[in-house]
């Protein structure tokens, strides 16, 4: 299945506070936010309807393809110059990256985010997402047979599990699996438990502060 930036829409009450009296121009995204049902064409049109029911003008909307592509956004947004010009607020239903790319392109109007970005995750099935990666800068899943305790253990333990792992579930919520239990079972099934013998050294976090990359 696909992996992506998983977002959740803010509470409607919260979004109404952000947009005030409008008029609002709404921006969606064709990629992650569409698959998360937070900022695709369907959700953008639903948001438009909510605003109109509250007598808040919507000057227009667009679904960027995708919102995080600067030059592409620049080209598409040119076609909406008038609608954007008529708005007092631009509401972006995309990830934290999408909203900033749009804000960079629309300088003179307030740009707000209608979503909260949660994690880089997997779509297990429709509407079911799980955290898989913290973008830590140096992948170490080879040590754990392809599973990442850094992102999937709430304590990020590299020499787990802690004393709270019960029946394969995490101590902080029975709703999700203890990743250390999964790692243990997987290595045991593959006769590879010896790989857990070595103490995993502390993480080198200096790899996690890359602020940009050019190829």
């Amino acid at each position: 299945m696909k992996s992506m930036i998983i977002t959740k829409q803010k509470e409607i009450k919260n979004i109404l506070d952000l947009v005030g009296e409008g008029p609002v121009f709404i921006v969606g995204c064709s990629e992650c936010a569409t698959l998360c049902n937070t900022g695709g064409e369907k959700e953008v049109k639903e948001m438009k309807k909510i605003f109109e029911d509250k007598k808040i003008d919507v000057s227009g909307f667009v679904i960027l393809d995708p919102a995080c592509h600067f030059l592409n956004d620049k080209r598409i947004l040119k076609n909406y110059r008038n609608e954007i010009g008529n708005a007092k607020i631009v509401l972006v239903l995309a990830c934290g990256n999408g909203v900033q790319t749009v804000a960079e392109l629309i300088q003179d109007i307030d740009v707000v985010s209608g979503t909260d970005a949660l994690f880089l995750g997997e779509i297990k099935r429709l509407g079911d997402f799980e955290r898989r990666c913290n973008l830590c800068g140096e992948c170490i899943v080879d040590l754990f047979d392809g599973l990442c305790p850094l992102s999937r253990c709430p304590k990020s333990m590299l020499n787990g599990p802690c004393g709270g792992s019960i029946n394969g579930k995490c101590e902080i919520s029975e709703d999700f699996d203890c990743v250390w239990d999964l790692i243990f079972k997987r290595l045991k099934d593959g006769n590879n438990l010896h790989r857990l013998k070595d103490i995993v050294e502390p993480k080198d976090w200096s790899k996690s502060v890359e602020m940009g990359r050019r190829i």
Partner: protein
């Protein structure tokens, strides 16, 4: 041999050790700890001072340890990985040793979502095993985690760790203990023991692998004070295993307080017979004044 601490002396002389926990107050009044110190003096070989246990803010374990030292008691300072990164942890080890702390117990720590500041950022830069190894290297190699040399005063710490024989996956629990020993743990305090069968199974594996020769194991004992407490521990505290038999005894008795005390006496009596166990660690939550009686009636008084 020059011992790092009284606790190390008692354990090394093969005497059955007793440690007890003192929870610091939610405030800066040293009187609370001094009072408990007065009450417990002479009833244990060393006293744990907890580090914001269950992620509830209290007087710090370093401050508490210092108060104990001034009261003539030997502290076991607890340090959790939840609230400090590797810079602060190493620095606090140096600070604690500089004022006279010699036993430090390292743990990953209860997750902040259980405490009274669930919005706090959990640090977890290190886990307990990594931290134990770092402190062992500070002590035995005289280097920080960076590899830099320690320049003035090697911290001569008796290193403690924790173990939970009742958590899953059970098959990995002794392996993980061994990892902690290799990392550098000198002594281990376990999760409170109520399920004797499970504890014996775990100790049997520990003993047959000879791990009890490499680390001192102190079994956790927590007297149950009330029905409310047993229910909270049984159903809500992660990692605690209270068998139905003990639960039923507690809910069917007209006097839960004395029944809970009796359960502890019986557990201690069984625990001291188990091969490889070097002592007990008493955590009497909000019931510290029961400790002298429990230690006396278990036959562990006076302390060596």
């Amino acid at each position: 041999m020059a011992y790092k601490s009284n606790l190390q002396r008692v354990l090394s002389e093969k005497k059955f050790a007793v440690t007890a926990e003192i929870g610091p107050p939610k405030g800066s009044d040293p009187g609370k700890i001094r009072k408990k110190a007065e009450l417990l003096k002479g009833y244990a070989d060393a006293f744990n001072i907890t580090d914001n246990q269950t992620a509830v803010v209290r007087l710090s374990s370093m401050g508490g340890s210092f108060i104990l030292l001034n009261s003539g008691l030997e502290p076991i300072m607890q340090m959790s990985c939840r609230d400090r990164n590797r810079i602060a942890l190493q620095s606090d080890v140096l600070g604690a040793v500089s004022v006279g702390v010699r036993n430090i117990l390292f743990m990953t720590g209860d997750h902040q979502s259980f405490g009274n500041h669930p919005g706090a950022k959990g640090v977890y830069d290190l886990d307990s095993i990594q931290l134990i190894k770092i402190v062992k290297d500070m002590r035995d190699l005289g280097v920080f985690q960076s590899g830099d040399k320690i320049l003035a005063g090697i911290p001569d710490v008796f290193i403690g760790g924790t173990a939970n024989p009742f958590a899953d996956p059970l098959d990995f629990r002794v392996d993980r203990l061994e990892k902690k020993i290799i990392a550098g743990a000198d002594f281990i305090q376990t999760q409170s023991v109520y399920n004797l069968d499970k504890f014996k199974m775990w100790m049997d594996e520990v003993y047959s692998r000879g791990l009890d020769k490499k680390v001192f194991i102190l079994a956790g004992v927590t007297p149950l004070k009330s029905v409310k407490m047993v229910e909270r521990m049984k159903f809500h505290v992660p990692g605690v295993d209270i068998p139905d038999e003990i639960y039923k005894r507690m809910i069917n008795t007209p006097d839960p307080k004395s029944e809970g005390y009796n359960v502890s006496l019986e557990l201690i009596d069984e625990i001291k017979k188990i091969k490889g166990v070097s002592g007990i660690h008493i955590t009497a939550l909000f019931w510290e004044d029961i400790i002298p009686k429990l230690v006396r009636e278990s036959g562990f008084y006076p302390r060596p």
